[in-house]
């Protein structure tokens, strides 16, 4: 940054120390998860507090892949999370754009409605939702999960998208529209490229939220071939209550898509960081 062209050496060093502390705090619990998953079962307690396992094994991973329905849960979770993320982002981009660019009657009421959805304990609506979904014959389908997750994620995603749109001067699309573009063309050609970091961030948030949702997934799904990952993990706890190594191995597998997704999203975050989206 040109503003901080000549930072003091001491400041730079302490910056890296602080960053290292952040990193250690963020990664240590995940390291511990990984450590337990590669520790042979007989050593889990004796190696309990050692930072490094005295023996190393991949048996836990092998048995998770070979002897459990883990791959099915995995596939279901991928489907539900991508479906939710895509649907939510499209709806939220449209709604966020409306909030950012228009003043209209009823705006405050609609914002209020969206805020209320974020405000009550989910338990209050679990029983009614179960009744409605079963009445529609959608019980035990992944579609029902996508619909419910989307409804719950749209409000926050909308506020997020609105903030991103607010950061893009509307002179840009006004100019395009005066030049003869329709609003849709102006949005697609001018606003959309500038909002890519925002869209990617929204996709990422929604994907991870859907990936880890447990309550509705337990309620609305009861057959093994439709279970999502967190429910599958829960059945691990109840079925193999002693086998922590296997459970942690399954947990490590659950982290893989999230990691890949976040690494993918970094590009857009960094892009936004370097390009200075508002430079007209």
């Amino acid at each position: 940054m040109s503003v901080f062209a000549k930072p003091a050496v001491g400041w730079t060093i302490s910056k890296y120390i602080v960053l290292a502390l952040y990193l250690a705090f963020a990664l240590f619990p995940l390291y511990w998860l990984l450590k337990i998953s590669v520790t042979p079962e007989k050593l889990i307690y004796s190696d309990g507090v050692a930072l490094w396992p005295s023996e190393f094994t991949l048996d836990n991973f092998k048995s998770v892949l070979l002897y459990t329905d883990f791959l099915i849960y995995f596939k279901n979770s991928i489907f539900v999370s991508f479906g939710t993320a895509a649907l939510t982002t499209v709806l939220a981009a449209a709604a966020g754009y409306a909030f950012s660019r228009f003043q209209f009657r009823g705006k405050k009421i609609i914002i209020g409605i969206m805020l209320i959805t974020q405000m009550f304990p989910l338990l209050i609506i679990i029983a009614p939702i179960y009744r409605i979904i079963s009445g529609m014959g959608l019980l035990n389908t992944l579609t029902s999960l996508i619909v419910v997750y989307t409804a719950f994620n749209v409000p926050f995603a909308t506020f997020l998208m609105q903030s991103f749109f607010d950061g893009i001067p509307k002179d840009l699309e006004e100019a395009a529209m005066i030049d003869g573009c329709t609003r849709l063309q102006a949005v697609r050609k001018v606003v959309f490229p500038l909002t890519l970091p925002g869209l990617a961030a929204t996709l990422g948030f929604v994907f991870t939220a859907a990936w880890s949702e447990l309550l509705f997934a337990i309620m609305l799904i009861n057959s093994n071939d439709k279970m999502t990952f967190p429910v599958g993990l829960l059945t691990f706890v109840s079925k193999f209550s002693v086998d922590w190594g296997q459970m942690m191995a399954a947990g490590v597998f659950a982290l893989v898509p999230s990691c890949l997704f976040f690494i993918f999203i970094q590009r857009y975050l960094v892009q936004g960081l370097t390009s200075g989206a508002v430079k007209g």
Binding site: V3, L23, A26, Y97, I125, V154
Partner: protein, 312 residues
Amino acid sequence: MSLTTNKNFAPDQKGQGWKIFKSPKLEPFLYLSPSIILICLVIFVPLVIGISYAFQSISLFRPSDTGWIGFEHFEDIYQDRKFYKSLRNTFWWTFTSVILQFSLGLGLAMLLKAGFKGQKFFQALIFLPWAVPTFLSALTWAWLFNPVIGPLSHWMFALGILDEPYNILADPSIAMYGPIAANVWFGIPFFAITLLAALQSIPDEMYEAAAIDGASKWQVFSKITLPFLAPMIVITVMLRTVWIANFADFIYVMTSGGPANSTQILSTYIFLTAFKKLDFGYASAVSVVLLVLLLIFATLLLKMRQKFVRVN
């Protein structure tokens, strides 16, 4: 700062496509209606039904005793000691978590904004806790605090924080810090990402102009960065506060509200009332009280936000 003001486009300046929407007042609703319809069907209809349970007796232990009972549940809440204890714990849990998450998240966002070598890789790792399923995070943290298989209590003993390496989740006076630690770990990336995105949308020209005028670092932060971030800060803090107050996963998995209700918050109390006592009416009534408290809080914060935006 014209970026944050919202004036409508003058409709008569529009291109051809504009004519599709004869009334400009309808155009925003075209974009909003899919979201609104979905939210009403999936959230509001069930919510109204759920709230109506608060005024009924719906307990699976007393199946013959169902029907409308007016405000009876709320009178019971007024005298319910466990409710007040859970309420106090809810404040403790929520505000400690939010303050730590926010300040650490803002610090991280500022560091990331300044930029450094290897940032792409670093960011991918530092945001990872957000992507971990909460159920899994809760289990992992419960293990970390367990003196038999986790290192934390031994470290705290070595640092003199604990008299002996025992599980803090079993100590009523400090058990709450276990779930709070897990929650802070989980929530820092949220604030870091949203605030970093907001920081990125501040035009570089503003900083360049400030540098030319010889502004100090603190002046740049307090006169440019903070006012620009304020609307985003208020919205994220409000949403997170409300979300955390309702968030039961960590506490439920790590302590189930124990020992001796020392970590019982309203949302875990509701959960236990509904699924252990099977008293859905009372659980709904407590939910309604929590909802009203959170609505009051959100209204106050939004009033504050309007002030900020006006200052801008």
